[in-house]
Amino acid sequence: MVLQKDDWHLTELLHHEHGRGDPFAAAVRATRMAMCITNPALPDNPIVFCNEAFQRLTGYDREEIIGQNCRFLQGPDTDKAGIDKVRKCIAEGSDVAIDLLNYRKDGTTFWNALYLSTVRGENGEIKFYFASQLDVTSRIEAKAAVEEQRDVVEREVARRTAQLEEALAAKTLLLHEVDHRVKNNLTMIGALLRLQSRQLDNPEMARKLEIMMERIDALATVHRRLYQSNDVTRFDIAGFAETLASDVIASSGRSDITLESAIEPIDISSEFASSLGLILNEILTNAIKHGLDGRRGSIRLSAVKSNGTSVITVEDDGHGIVLGKSDGGLGKTLITRLSKQADAKVAWVRLDQGTRVTLTMASSA
C-alpha cells in the first residue's frame, strides 16, 4: 500500500469546508479509525475521501477507492436487510449505526461496525455523508461462538432431558406393573389360605391358619395403603391401625364391640411399615379375640405425636389379658423381634378393667 502524506490535498472537495492545512483534516487522515466521505451530489454517491486507516482496513489503495460507491465492500454473505437499512437511512438523510459483513480486496471478510451520518450545509442540505468503520470481527465472532456453544448445550440438555423423561416413564410403568403383581400375588396367597382353611377338620389347625391369614391380610393392607398414597416412602401407621381395628372387629361379627378412635396421622418410614403393621395386628387381634372374648366392650384407639416420639395406644375394657398364648407364643415373639427392628417399644399394662397396650415409636422411624 502506498502511504501518501499529502493525501488530503488530493480531495479537493475537502477544501470546500476545511481548507488546506486544517488540523482537523490532518487528524482525520491520521486516526486509527477508518473513515470515508461520500458526495451525494455526484452520480451514485461516490467516495470522495478516505483515510489511511480505511485503506488498511479494506486492503484497497486510494485510487481504487475514490469514485466507488460504498457498496463495493459488500459481498455474497452481506446481510441484505442490513444493506436495505443503510439505503433507507441515506434516502431519509438520517444517521445509521449497523454491523455489516464486508469484504476486503483479497476476498477475506470482516465485520464492520458502520456509523454513517450526514454533513449538512448552511441551508440544511446534505453536502456529504460521513462514514466511520470499525473492525468488530472478534466481537461478533466471540458472540457467535457463545451463541453456538449455547445452542450446543441447549440441544444436549434437551436430548438428555428427553432421555431421562423416557427412562422415568419406563421406571414408573415398571413400578406400577410390579405393584400390580405384588397385589395380585398377595390376593392369591390370601385366597389359597382361605380356601385351605375350609378343608381343615382339625379345629386347632384351622384356628392357627386363621391367625396366619390375619397376619398376611395385615401385610396386604400395608402394601395396599402404601401404594394408594402419593409417597411410597412414608406410611401413615395411625390410619392403618384404624383401618385394621375396624376390619378385625367387623370380621369377628361382633356387633357388641365398639371402636372409639382418636388419631392424628403418624408418618413413619415405609421401611418399617410391614414390621409395625404386623405388631399392631398382634395387639389388635389379641384385644378383640381374647381381651373381649365372650363379653361386650370397646376398643379405644389413640395416636399422638409429641417431642420426637409417636405413641399409638390400644385399650380394651375386657378381661385384662396381657398376651394370649393361644398361638404358641409366636405373637409375642413377633412383637419382640419386630419392635427391636423398627426401634419401637411395646408396653402392656393391666387396667382395673381391661388392658392398655402402648406402641412407642421414634418419630424418625
Binding site: 397385589k183 392369591m188 382361605r194 393392607t221
Partner: protein, 150 residues
C-alpha cells in the same frame, strides 16, 4: 324393585382361585353366586336364571377385555344391578366410576371383604346401611345417599 336376602351375585374375574375365594365369602355372608365369567365375551354369552342384584367386576380380564366394558354391558343388560369393582388397579377407574357403585381394592382381606359385603347387603336390601362404610370399600357418588344416615 325390592331386593331380599339372599342377594344374587355375579362374579366377573379371570383368576379361578379368586372366583372360588369370593364365592366362598359370598356364601359365608348368606348370599348366592348365580354365575361367573372371565371376560367380556363370557358375560355376553351368559344366560342367567335371574337378574343379578350385585356384580363384582375385576378390571383386567381375560382375552384383553376390561372391567369398564363389562360395567357398561351390565348396565345395559341388568340396569338394576349394583356394580362393585374388585381390582389391584383402582387408578384405572374413572372418577365417575363409569356407572359403577364402588371399589374393593386388591389385595383384600377376608375381614375387609366380609365387612364390605355386609355394608352392601344392608345398602341394597334396606338402604341406608346401619353400619358405617368400611374403610376398605370406596363408594361412588351414586352411594352418597347411603352416607347421610350413618
Amino acid at each position: 324393585m325390592a331386593k331380599a336376602k339372599p342377594l344374587k351375585i355375579l362374579i366377573v374375574e379371570d383368576e379361578p382361585l379368586l372366583v372360588m375365594d369370593v364365592e366362598m365369602m359370598v356364601e359365608d355372608s348368606g348370599h348366592q353366586v348365580i354365575g361367573d365369567a372371565a371376560s367380556l365375551g363370557e358375560v355376553e354369552a351368559l344366560t342367567l336364571a335371574s337378574e343379578p342384584d350385585l356384580v363384582f367386576v375385576d378390571m383386567q380380564l381375560a382375552k384383553g377385555s376390561n372391567g369398564l366394558d363389562v360395567s357398561a354391558l351390565v348396565q345395559r343388560r341388568w340396569p338394576e344391578a349394583f356394580i362393585v369393582y374388585v381390582t389391584a388397579n383402582p387408578r384405572m377407574i374413572p372418577e365417575d366410576f363409569a356407572g359403577g357403585h364402588g371399589v374393593i381394592a386388591k389385595p383384600f382381606s377376608r375381614t375387609g371383604f366380609l365387612a364390605a359385603m355386609r355394608y352392601l347387603e344392608e345398602g341394597i336390601i334396606a338402604p341406608p346401611p346401619s353400619i358405617a362404610r368400611p374403610v376398605d370399600f370406596v363408594g361412588a357418588r351414586a352411594l352418597d345417599a347411603w352416607q347421610v344416615a350413618t
